[in-house]
Symmetry: C2
Subunit: 462 residues, 2 copies
Amino acid sequence: MTDIAPVLANADEALPQSLERLFDLVRIPSISTDPAYKADCRKAAEWLTKELNALGFNASVRDTAGHPMVVGHHDGAAENAPHVLFYGHYDVQPVDPLNLWENDPFEPAIKEIAPGRKVITGRGTADDKGQLMTFVEACRAYKAVHGGLPIKVTILFEGEEESGSPSLKPFLEANAAELKCDFALVCDTGMWDKDTPAIAAALRGLVGEEIVVTAADRDLHSGLFGGAAANPIHVLTKVLADLHDETGRITIDDFYEGVEETPANIKASWDKLGRTADTFLKDVGLSIPSGEQGRSVLELTWARPTAEVNGIIGGYTGEGFKTVIASKASAKVSFRLVGDQNPDKIRENFRAFVRARIPADCSVEFHEHGASPAIQLPYDSAFLTKAKTALSDEWPKPAEVIGMGGSIPIVGDFQTFLGMDSLLVGFGLVDDRIHSPNEKYELTSFHKGIRSWIRIIDALAK
Amino acid sequence: MTDIAPVLANADEALPQSLERLFDLVRIPSISTDPAYKADCRKAAEWLTKELNALGFNASVRDTAGHPMVVGHHDGAAENAPHVLFYGHYDVQPVDPLNLWENDPFEPAIKEIAPGRKVITGRGTADDKGQLMTFVEACRAYKAVHGGLPIKVTILFEGEEESGSPSLKPFLEANAAELKCDFALVCDTGMWDKDTPAIAAALRGLVGEEIVVTAADRDLHSGLFGGAAANPIHVLTKVLADLHDETGRITIDDFYEGVEETPANIKASWDKLGRTADTFLKDVGLSIPSGEQGRSVLELTWARPTAEVNGIIGGYTGEGFKTVIASKASAKVSFRLVGDQNPDKIRENFRAFVRARIPADCSVEFHEHGASPAIQLPYDSAFLTKAKTALSDEWPKPAEVIGMGGSIPIVGDFQTFLGMDSLLVGFGLVDDRIHSPNEKYELTSFHKGIRSWIRIIDALAK
């Protein structure tokens, strides 16, 4: 049993040093999807390993076929306290378009964006370096005051979360005995609002696909061939335009198999949260919900599946104009899944949908970019209840148990490979611009995030 | 009156030197649409000016707001011979994707692609540097044998043909008195086949448009916002997919205004030429005509209008995957026009078509990329008849008078600004891969092209 008051005080006093360490980590451009940053990903893993070892963890860089993992173990002081696995990812999204950043994405800074409201700017500050460091800094405060942790902790940091986690499943499988804990703490989610902490209990799944349509075996002059030769951009735009009907419903065969209507009482509790099209979309310059008609934005983003084109390219896209009929055109398409939708079936039916729309003299290739089912966690576990109380003690308003529109495949993988549920706690805000230029993390998220973990660790030890 | 036998012999003997000069010109990467090559465009203009002055022309580089023109004048020996304006363009298309080129696009070479069939490889060899040099070399052979030309010649070389010719109209207008001739010789077209020369009497027009759709004011995470926020790629693909109906007909309001059905006798003469979907499309790896159903490929490419997407881009298009909803997506779209279709009306109706499909909380911008109406030249002018005979004398088969799918806006501009018809003679082949990687020009096209101009100049002098 530990006294947390001095631990919280230590975290408050050490905040400037905690920030310096976060800045050091953000300065490493660990973009996992781009092979040019391979060495930087390893550098981030090595940096974290060194930090953990300095805190009394037995930590090491663990090689994979892709970017390395970091695994560290720390014993706990309290008897009968749970053994938890803390998960975060040190890799970050690409930073293009770079010209839209107001600050260097890899030179973090503190910025006062409104009176009394300070943020930490830079790629990865919110997703996920700032978040994982809240836990590391909580451990540091415990060590500084009490010489160690009250609960047994294993840490797993991944370096491929932003690029489909190709090495994760094999790694969990190969190291299941070492990594199996009572449950996992996953810090890659957000607050409900700046005063209200949140625990996410439902997460959408994800299927990523890339399609490449080929028509002629070379680029053609649109004067010589236009009107007679197939244009792969036309083929592709027809396919993609067909994905949604006039009501926003996705038209792929059996797409809604496994999707259940949200119970009325859950919808009612969501309605009370007050997130409307007006408040949610206005902030990004929009006003009209674009998905299935007649549903609230919370339902659309938490409880309904989607099909989104994340990227498209074909033909001449440089300055000026080129009257060319391209040989190839391609698109990256992702599906957010809910309920019991089967990722493999979705992929298979999508491919059939595309193939049915390819002219006989054209061809199509598919490239897989990850798959994970949706997740529904128990609303009433003991550890969820403890964490909810701990969070409510730290923040101005009580914690909410919510859904999440994003995918955190690790949660499903922990269930599948380690037979372990997760507790999803994070301190991001909806306007953190993760995956966009000018990503930021609230200074309050970082500071009170550290304090929240101190309280959660203490609650779990009791 | 000159004797052409020694002129033809001189052209044959000097072929190696003629090729060297063409190679020098091809080595200059005069890509007009890309500002990075501005100095190279000027270099090409200066190179040509020097060549023309060496042949007894009074030539100079003439500045414009964009890339410069080259204008040269040469007197003729024969009395009552016509004064002709020869037109070509020294600028070339971009070379991307560079990795598909088998040879450096700007290091020309002779390649034997089949026993006895040699080609000149490199960007611009066929479009249009190789073609314009056939005329320059014909003039050189005349000068070498007879000390000058039998007809009065003005030469106009443009440097913006591949980028919408923004400076051309003002230049023609400002220099109309200097440039007005009896008619123009335009060398930017092709042979019917490798044995059959052709004179093009009908050309499709062109309207170029770029559209940029904006949804949210920043890139969004597709987990947080997917299903609720508008995706500009979805908006754009819906717009583009709507451009054609199930039968390949273009659906823009009043699009077919001014399009007349081709007379049955013309269609019959085209049918005799033997270009079918099978022969024409097979060569580029296709087999099914993609445009309006129930029409031959010659009709589709010579006598029917088109709407083609020449480029599209939006969202993440790099390696790997990024679950982003883009803020913007854009496409370059061109329309080939026939008959009396009005370019301005087509543009206006296209913009209305797009605007009608943009959600109320999204926006669209348009950028204009040139416009020219279709052209129909007289089939029976004296100069066309003379040229037809001259060409038939040089090549294995008699010359054909044909249509062209491509646009040569200069022909309309010569009519509008100089009140002058054009004679369109060129020596390209359909498989020259102009605008594509591995552009080539047949060695025979170059050699017999030079000889053809010697014969045409002689015929016109009589």
